[in-house]
């Protein structure tokens, strides 16, 4: 077939036995991407790290780059004890389990990491999933049945929405962090109906925290159970690093805490901890737990070691707060618009005027040796384009100074600041 014939075929309607192109629904996104990349800009979603030197430095495009866009908050990925535990498990238990947690995929290491979580949170039960995404998918879809209600913050993470979509409960969203909006909706629902309020400790796009104390109070008053995703606070926020619920003194009222190993813990995996006496039955009824392979032995060994070390991470936590405050104050002084008035977590979001300038600024930063996350709709609230900076306890004070200098030069070069 000639090129012309092909072109003609593509223009014809999908009839007469010709297939409809299921990819055509992505055309607007393909166009946006092509438009952006045609300006000659580096693809912000195609970065490759050639070497990883430490939790805060990598080699990207042959250039030494400070990492300010990872979720390696506590810098555990190169901890010598963590690495040694992983190597030992790899030698002794092999590269993978090739099985479900409920069949042949539970090794002593899986139990050990669940024990570490129970100790870390001082809770009765812990259940480990293969990713944090699956933990939300599994717990949310399993806990709320057809006649139950899930009441969730509009800015909830994709994994929470996908957990709702996988189940068949009635979904009621409320305005972000609005206690009054939550309370009103709870009061309008049938008093006898089952209700699960789903909240996050830290909202990862803007780095703001939830008013959990007030939200848990109105939820309990309405007879709802409460799930809090503490993915971005574990290890860092709260006296023992248990998260925002601990920091606000309401952790004992939370029914289910969801977390991940892919942030402060420094590997991959997800979990749910709870004090509910019937919790263990979830292992048999939660499909994203049952119908997938369990984590490799080396992963659970690194996670267990890391979690136990995080229990004694006060010095690191304190340093991370210092970093967060310093970066926030410095960026504000340079004239950048930030996602929060005060630093509330290890995430500092710099709000860009639009996607074009956001991408230009992202590239300018990369060229001077700084990696941050470029976040754009639909991941962001209110159609914002963000440069999301996430700090690590291993960033030195000197690195934070360097980072501020890079933001200053890139910001002026791209016209984001005057």
């Amino acid at each position: 077939m000639t090129t012309n014939a092909l072109r003609q075929a593509a223009d014809e309607p999908p009839s007469g036995g010709r297939e409809a192109d299921l990819f055509s629904k992505f055309d607007p996104l393909i166009q946006t991407r092509e438009q952006l990349l045609s300006t000659g800009i580096t693809d912000p979603f195609g970065l490759v790290m050639e070497e990883v030197v430490s939790p805060t430095v990598a080699i990207c495009n042959g250039r030494k780059t400070i990492l300010l866009g990872t979720y390696n908050y506590m810098g555990m990925t190169f901890d010598p004890d963590v690495i040694a535990a992983g190597k030992k498990a790899l030698d002794e238990f092999g590269s993978g389990t090739t099985g479900s947690r409920v069949l042949n995929g539970t090794y002593v290491g899986h139990r050990a990491v669940e024990d570490a979580l129970k100790d870390f949170y001082a809770m009765d039960h812990a259940m480990v999933f293969s990713t944090g995404y699956q933990a939300n998918l599994g717990i949310i879809s399993t806990m709320a049945g057809k006649d139950d209600y899930i009441i969730l913050d509009i800015d909830s993470h994709a994994s929470i929405y996908d957990g709702c979509a996988l189940g068949n409960a009635q979904i009621v969203p409320f305005r972000h962090n609005d206690v009054d909006a939550l309370e009103k909706r709870l009061k309008r629902l049938p008093p006898e109906a089952g209700k699960l309020v789903v909240l996050e400790g830290v909202y990862s796009m803007l780095g703001d925290i939830a008013p959990l104390k007030e939200m848990v109070a109105v939820s309990k008053a309405a007879g709802a159970m409460v799930l809090v995703d503490e993915a971005h606070s574990m290890g860092f926020i709260g006296e023992h690093g248990r998260g925002v619920a601990e920091a606000q003194g309401v952790i004992d009222d939370i029914d289910l805490i969801i977390g991940t190993f892919s942030k402060s813990v420094g590997t991959v995996g997800g979990f749910c901890v709870s004090n509910h006496p019937k919790f263990e039955i979830l292992r048999l009824v939660c499909r994203p737990y049952v119908f997938t392979a369990s984590l490799p032995p080396s992963v659970v060994a690194t996670a267990a070691t890391s979690i136990r070390k995080l229990m004694h991470g006060k010095a690191k936590r304190d340093h991370l707060w210092v970093n967060s405050q310093k970066l926030h104050a410095g960026l504000k002084a340079l004239g950048f618009t930030l996602g929060t008035e005060q630093p509330q977590s290890a995430i500092i979001a710099v709000i860009m005027p639009d996607l074009e300038r956001g991408a230009a600024m992202w590239e300018a930063l990369l060229h001077v040796g700084l990696y941050v996350n470029l976040a754009r709709p639909p991941a962001t609230p209110a159609n914002m384009t963000l440069l999301r900076c996430s700090l690590c306890a291993e960033h030195s004070a000197q690195q934070v100074d360097e980072i501020l200098g890079m933001f200053e030069s890139a910001g002026r070069k791209t016209g984001v600041i005057a």
């Binding site: 509009i154 009621v172 969203p173 305005r175 909006a181 629902l189 159609n383």
Partner: protein, 80 residues
Amino acid sequence: MTDRAETDARVKALIEPFNKKEIVVGDGTRFAQDLEWDSLTVLDFVANIEDEFDIVITMNQQAEIETVGQLVDAVGKLKG
């Protein structure tokens, strides 16, 4: 005024602040195609409707509502 006419008037009053194109709104007006609302506008608008009528419109119910007329009927049912 009938009950439906009254609901209809209150719904249309809440649409107006979001009616950026200033189109004429009738029963058949579609939120996505005619008013060209994105998902964030829909969320704000639904919150206003819920507060105005003291009801909850779940996302499951929202998925079934495409036009202004369908919304007025749904609100009528939900407020009982």
